[in-house]
Amino acid sequence: MTAAEQVRNPQAIFISGNEAVAMAARDADCRVAAAYPGTPSTEILEYLSAYPTVYSEWSINEKVSLEVTIGASLAGSRALCAMKHVGLNVASDALMTQTLIGAVGGLVIAVADDVGLSSSQNEQDSRYWGRFAHIPVLEPCDAQEAYSMTRFAFSLSEQFSVPVLLRLTTRICHVKGLVRTDASEKTVARFFNKDSSRYVMVPGNARNRIPLMMQRDKELAQFSEGCELNRFEPGQDRRIGFVTSGAAYCHVRETFPEAPVLKLGLSHPAPIETIRAFAQGVDQLIVAEEVEPLLETELKAAGIQLSGKDILPRIGELTPSVLRPALAQLTGDTCTTAPATQNDLFPRPPTLCVACPHMGIYYCLAHVKNTIISGDIGCYTLGAGQPWNALDTCISMGASLSVAQGIDKGRSEADQNKNVIAVIGDSTFLHMGMQGLLDITYNRGNVTILLLDNRAVGMTGGQNAPSSGLDLHGEETIQVDFRKLCEALGVKPARIHEVNPYELPVLFKALREEVKQTGPSVIITNQPCVLTERYRQQPALAVDADRCTGCSNCLDVGCPAILVERRETVIKPNGREKQLTFVKIDSAACTGCNLCINTCGPDAIIPLSRDSRINAVEVSA
């Protein structure tokens, strides 16, 4: 650390919001942390896993992670679970009853909304859960507040005996800033205090807890009025005053540095009377909240005049480039905006990695006729893109199987000859797909299931799952045997195949055979994610230009390492024009999976070093 840095930022560290949440949990003496990976929340548990004072785990899904932390809280320990926004949909069954029981050890649910959909299937506002489940919502605006509010969340949870929702967004999780941490605390050791009238939520007990929950709502609303996290920041230009929270606060201060701001850290229950008083000191009140008009609706119901989603968008971030033109309508200020990007350029969509084992699957699926392909959440959702276009649905974790079952049962006469296929990854299958498979076998469905086992949660960066045989800490544990699991779930042994997805002929044979079968089949692939240490690179490939005929079959693999050398138009003997595309391989990027060799008729794809043998891809993991 330089002298200048020390002067300016004594003990400040430069960390992301996710790391700040993890550090705060550690410093608050959190004992148990659990999560299922999901962007943008994944790193919270990865950072926590490095702290020996915290038990941490990758749970099977978000509902399980919440229940693990509920148990820890009831056992008297502080606990934190982290998830992306859609994860809380999965966990909500537990949440909606846990709120009646309340917390014993501080219980914090860190939920990360993907405002702007950088990598999610929808954009939803997790602040709703605060209203729905009657729990307080904290909204940090940056990494420093992610730290301090996580610390605060544990004590708030214990003070009101309530789970606390820490609402993060991508712009909190993945933004680094300078953070000062506070002294760590040591909590008093507690124990599991048997109390069935509180912990056993049968109707007779639950009914009695509801008035207590309502009373807690009232007390929290009073607490919110005076809470230091709800902060008034005076400003000279009182034409517009802002009530705002989270990342939107930073954008508001950036855009309107002279405007008065009421910044809500404890945004639910909202400090209605504080806001009413604030409104009287400004000409116009604007509620700047990202996504849904939640606070706006509540304030309007309280009789406070304001503008909100009538001028601000309900989708995406409220960045300065969004706020400035929207507010110019009210202030009459002039406003010019630059285009965000040059939009006549080619797109560069995310695509499967070089040598990804899923590419062989999608090459096959693109070449099999009469299919309806039900997809799922993971890297393999990219199979919906070019060149494969081999995915027809994608909804939620595990939905591929159950949606396929519905397509099978609901198909009309016109679709009688269609082959219904479900594609799902190993971790997603374990998260929420198994139930769908059992539904198919139990109810005699006719679906061919492709279980793409790459032994990792690929899309979030190759995290471990029960299919990896490794836990969050990289230590050995049980490894699920998918063949046995599928058998146990009712699939006939003869209808389960394990295939190497780099061996296209084997893959085609298995797929063509199984789609003809009546009843469920499972084809399990067995090659690891290329992002993980399990993947073994092979010698790189190159194209023998003398042998390449320009047929472009290999481009249908979709590998980013296969590039176009030149295009030519030739006249065929029948007089028709034909486009030829001669290729080359970016050998520095190629890792020699050899998939493309299967597609090359003239054997033009050869090892980069002609002397090196083309090694078979390792079959066993």
């Binding site: 650390m1 930073c250 990007t341 990219l382 176009v564």
Partner: protein, 198 residues
């Protein structure tokens, strides 16, 4: 409000865009600034467009650079330079790696890669410098050195001592051992020497 410097780093997943932005941010902290830096992760390793925003000054609120307000664009790929040039303010600088990378949608013939992207950049009221960091890195034995080459070239454009940036880079590779450290230092120096004004 005091001036906030905006650095936009743009490239493709897997090129080290976020690492480069992180190293610039670390150097800015050492220069005594408040700093915010965005990361866009998740799909970032899948060959998609990746940008990282670094903002530093007396006090930084928003982590996002408003289009039209970037002071420096560090583009790891020429077409990406074109994609993000509109983010620069008049008179700003763009530093471009001329090593082109075409995505599968271009190889498949569905879209065209722009002709002479650097010449198209001349339409913008900015100053453009370029270097073929891709070829230079491969020449030095490791394509991952693009990152350090670009940082070396960027050092001339940043409002603090280039030594701070170099030290932040070296600290980053300190635990990787002697050879990687030496190579990255050489790459930084080579990038710094590259004039490349067009």
């Amino acid at each position: 409000m005091s001036y906030v410097t905006n650095i936009l780093v743009a490239g493709i997943g897997g090129q080290g865009v976020m690492t480069a932005a992180d190293i610039i941010a670390q150097a800015a902290i050492r220069a005594g600034h408040d700093v915010k830096k965005t990361e866009v992760a998740g799909m970032a390793q899948r060959g998609g467009v990746v940008t990282s925003h670094v903002r530093f000054g007396e006090h930084v609120y928003s982590p996002s650079i408003t289009p039209g307000h970037a002071d420096l664009l560090l583009a790891f790929e020429p077409a990406e330079a074109l994609r993000w040039a509109g983010h620069l303010r008049t008179g700003a600088a763009a530093l471009v790696n001329t090593f082109a990378q075409t995505p599968p949608v271009v190889s498949l013939g569905l879209f065209e890669y722009p002709d002479a992207p650097l010449e198209q950049l001349a339409r913008y009221p900015i100053s453009v410098s370029s270097l073929n960091a891709g070829d230079m890195a491969i020449g030095m034995g490791d394509r991952r050195l693009v990152n350090s080459l670009m940082l070396g070239a960027a050092a001339r454009h940043l409002p603090f001592d280039s030594g701070l940036l170099k030290q932040a880079l070296l600290d980053r590779f300190a635990n990787k051992g002697g050879k990687m450290l030496t190579l990255n230092e050489q790459a930084f120096d080579a990038g710094y020497r590259e004039p490349g004004k067009i």
